[in-house]
Symmetry: C2
Subunit: 197 residues, 2 copies
Amino acid sequence: MDTSALATSFGARLPDWVLSELAGVPEVLPTDEDRIRLANRLAERNHREDTGGPFAALVVDSATGRLVSAGVNLVLSSGLSSTHAEVVALSLAQTRLSTWNLGAPGAPELELVVNWRPCVMCYGAAMWSGVRRLLIAGDGPEVEALTGFDEGPMREDWAEQFGERGIRVDRGVLRDEAIEVFREYGAREDAVVYNAR
Amino acid sequence: MDTSALATSFGARLPDWVLSELAGVPEVLPTDEDRIRLANRLAERNHREDTGGPFAALVVDSATGRLVSAGVNLVLSSGLSSTHAEVVALSLAQTRLSTWNLGAPGAPELELVVNWRPCVMCYGAAMWSGVRRLLIAGDGPEVEALTGFDEGPMREDWAEQFGERGIRVDRGVLRDEAIEVFREYGAREDAVVYNAR
């Protein structure tokens, strides 16, 4: 076949406003509240800036609170359906650290911080990334009810399955603030639900 | 914080041998066997070339058999744990077509062809991509048993969940040939299982 029309590479880039926002954030995020607060803020700004859905994720050094990477949902701006906030944050951390394995022996333990429970794709993405902890503002039916997004078919024992693979799950931090961002997004007349069928 | 050390973009690129291999393939792949045969061949060559694990995926126009994109597992070469073959093929198709939605109204129906059932991450990636059909060589315990890779926590009703979202699942095409590739990989003394904990 004529292969000249085939794409041979792909990629995505953070919008400029993310670095501007981060420039005003302290060097370390010591508490769970500090981490979720930043995720909620980036998620809110991402939809207000029209750069994607109301989702953000961070990779953070669990012990020190040092930020390793920050991601926001880039599906609409990158044109790639896999660029959910979690995939973006994990990929940027792996790019910065030059390794696919964020859980290499001897390296500092890293965690993924998200403003809600990951969808089924990002559930797997977190599982294969090497992070040792998932910290989420919350889980439950609110995000699907308020925004129309589909989280996909998760198993009832999703958190236990993380545990069996050495990944701790902690949830319920600034949950109401997270829900407020979803409520604002759902109230927009131009809200795009880019994974509905 | 000082943001200068943060990564702001990420990406991945196919190894050169993929286009060489595809140059010898017919312009269209009319039958399911044609499509799975190519996926099996790319999967085998990917591990023999040491460019990744024994997995490959294609995006194909269901009606005509025209190849839209081809992907192989790039975790080790890209340093990104999300670059499984399915994510690579879907992302390359979306890059070529300049849209995150491979199932836009009026566009030709596209399918994802893979040499085994997707892991839980790629299950979600397929679900959000817009493809209308998943064609796989097979499913079952063989890939985990022969290679040591973890498919992750899938639901029992995984195929029905695709169906509810308008995605047909067909399986059991050149299944033995697919298993033979996994057997060869598992027999390598230097086989890397890059998602095990």
